[in-house]
């Protein structure tokens, strides 16, 4: 298994790519990789995320050509301020707002190598109106109408684990794996950052990621901060507030980003 630096990962990416970002809201986000992406000259990105500050930062920089999300939130600050500004100014050229469950099925469809997965979620809702590319299918057995959630294929995925090893095993030690395994399997190339390069002697089920699912491991202690990464560290609420406070001042935001 390759072991790369954060900057070496960014060096493998190109403008115009579709990048999936693991974690959830302001929880165990691969922020070291996100900061490096934010500081790179890569642009015209399609970002696929259960969104938190990753989405806010990349939207504020105008790097996002298309955003695929079910929500964008900082949890303790329910509405992501940078995302709000970008949406209200109309600076994200294309947005695909999905039901959170549809989003998950899109990742699973990509991982399972099928073009879509059927679901009831989304039927009758505004999601179908604002996303005319979404189609329904008639069930061949019962005749009922279901949403055909298309595969969310990713060129690259970023996830952050509490622990990993040099062989490409990844371990989460917090309460929720989120959908990091599915982000990895939906991607052509998956990059897994970690707090420590040594697995803990914890229940085997904590070893969420195996090396069939990843292409490189990145050692990035503190690499989810300021988002939470339990049990290693809680969310840095003061740092999150400082980030949120820059939403109305692009100069302050640039200065904030440089300091990360």
């Amino acid at each position: 298994m390759r072991q790369l630096s954060v900057d070496e990962v960014i060096g493998e990416l190109r403008s115009g790519m579709t990048i999936g970002i693991g974690g959830w809201g302001s929880r165990r986000k691969p922020m070291a990789l996100v900061y490096a992406l934010a500081k790179s000259d890569l642009t015209d990105l399609t970002i696929v995320s259960y969104g938190g500050p990753d989405v806010g930062i990349l939207c504020a920089l105008g790097k996002v050509k298309k955003l695929v999300y079910g929500f964008v939130s900082l949890d303790s600050i329910p509405l992501e301020p940078h995302f709000r500004v970008a949406r209200q100014k109309g600076t994200i050229p294309e947005v695909v707002e999905l039901d959170e469950g549809m989003f998950q099925l899109g990742l699973r469809a990509a991982a399972w190598n099928v073009p879509f997965l059927p679901t009831r979620a989304g039927l009758g809702s505004g999601v179908m109106d604002v996303n005319p590319h979404l189609k329904t299918v008639e069930c061949p057995y019962t005749g009922e109408e279901l949403v055909a959630m298309p595969a969310l294929k990713l060129d690259a995925a970023f996830v952050h684990m509490n622990r990993a090893d040099a062989r490409g095993n990844g371990q989460y030690l917090g309460p929720d794996p989120y959908f990091d395994d599915w982000f990895c399997m939906a991607a052509d190339k998956a990059y897994m950052s970690c707090e420590k390069l040594a697995l803990e002697d914890a229940a085997i089920q904590t070893r969420l990621i195996n090396r069939t699912m990843v292409d490189a491991v990145v050692l990035a202690p503190g690499g989810a901060g300021f988002t939470e990464c339990p049990p290693d560290y809680p969310r840095d609420e003061a740092a999150q507030k400082a980030y949120a406070a820059t939403a109305k001042d692009p100069e302050a935001f640039r200065a904030w980003l440089e300091a990360q």
Binding site: V72, Q88, M102, F179
Partner: protein
């Protein structure tokens, strides 16, 4: 007796009959109501800490409910959610996504979150802390949760600071179940942007019994949650 007591008890009543379902109250008053319901009437209700664990009424961890299992559970229909609503229409279509045109919203909110899937799969109720014509509108700007006219599984109740409502009016329209003590019909009509269905006699939302009040006090000992409810 306070308005907070009455609203929290009305929320508790919405979870009656839910048995061993997962209940997901999103705001403090519905959370208080869910605990009271579990303590008094529905001991098997599954409550979570809002993160990934199932907890009992003493806060002890019982089991595991990560987000992927929440989706499994809701698609399996074993859940009743009580969400908030920035806008809601006469059929219970709800909006938490954005205000204004979706292409360039005047106000970006959360996004639809899980509302489309919740509402088509399992019972949904709403808690609206401030009943107004800005919330109860003729047309919502972005349908997040679907209503009775668009295939909702069940929109059970809306509890507000003015009253309790269901969708058993003609054609699945919102109907008055009861108004809280002291609330007048004209006040509710002025604060609702569409015509409500009214019963011939409008009941008054009931006040908690001594046992119910004790249960409310158990989970809100300093009345911090209930004191925030305003008329």
């Amino acid at each position: 007796m306070s308005l907070g007591d009455i609203c929290a008890l009305a929320c508790a009543e919405t979870f009656k009959g839910d048995g061993n379902a997962m209940v997901s109250p999103m705001a403090p008053i519905p959370k208080l109501g869910a605990k009271v319901c579990k303590a008094l009437w529905e001991p098997d209700l599954v409550l979570t800490d809002g993160v990934a664990t199932i907890i009992d009424l003493d806060g002890e961890v019982e089991g595991w409910m990560p987000f992927s299992r929440v989706f499994d559970t809701l698609w399996n229909k074993k859940r009743h959610v009580m969400m908030g609503a920035t806008q809601i229409d006469a059929h219970g279509n709800q909006n938490i996504s954005c205000i204004g045109d979706f292409a360039k919203p005047k106000v970006q909110l959360l996004g639809v979150r899980g509302a489309p899937g919740n509402t088509i799969c399992h019972p949904t109720s709403y808690w609206v802390a401030s009943h107004s014509a800005k919330v109860f509108v003729e047309r919502v700007d972005m349908i997040s949760g679907i209503g009775t006219d668009r295939g909702a599984a069940e929109i059970r109740r809306v509890v507000t600071n003015l009253g309790v409502f269901d969708f058993l009016g003609e054609g699945g329209r919102m109907r008055v179940v009861s108004l809280h003590p002291g609330v007048e019909r004209a006040q509710v009509e002025a604060a609702t942007g569409f015509g409500l269905a009214w019963p011939d006699e409008v009941p008054v939302t009931r006040e908690p019994t001594a046992d119910e009040l004790a249960a409310l006090d158990r989970f809100d000992p300093e009345r911090k949650i209930r004191s925030r409810v305003e008329a």
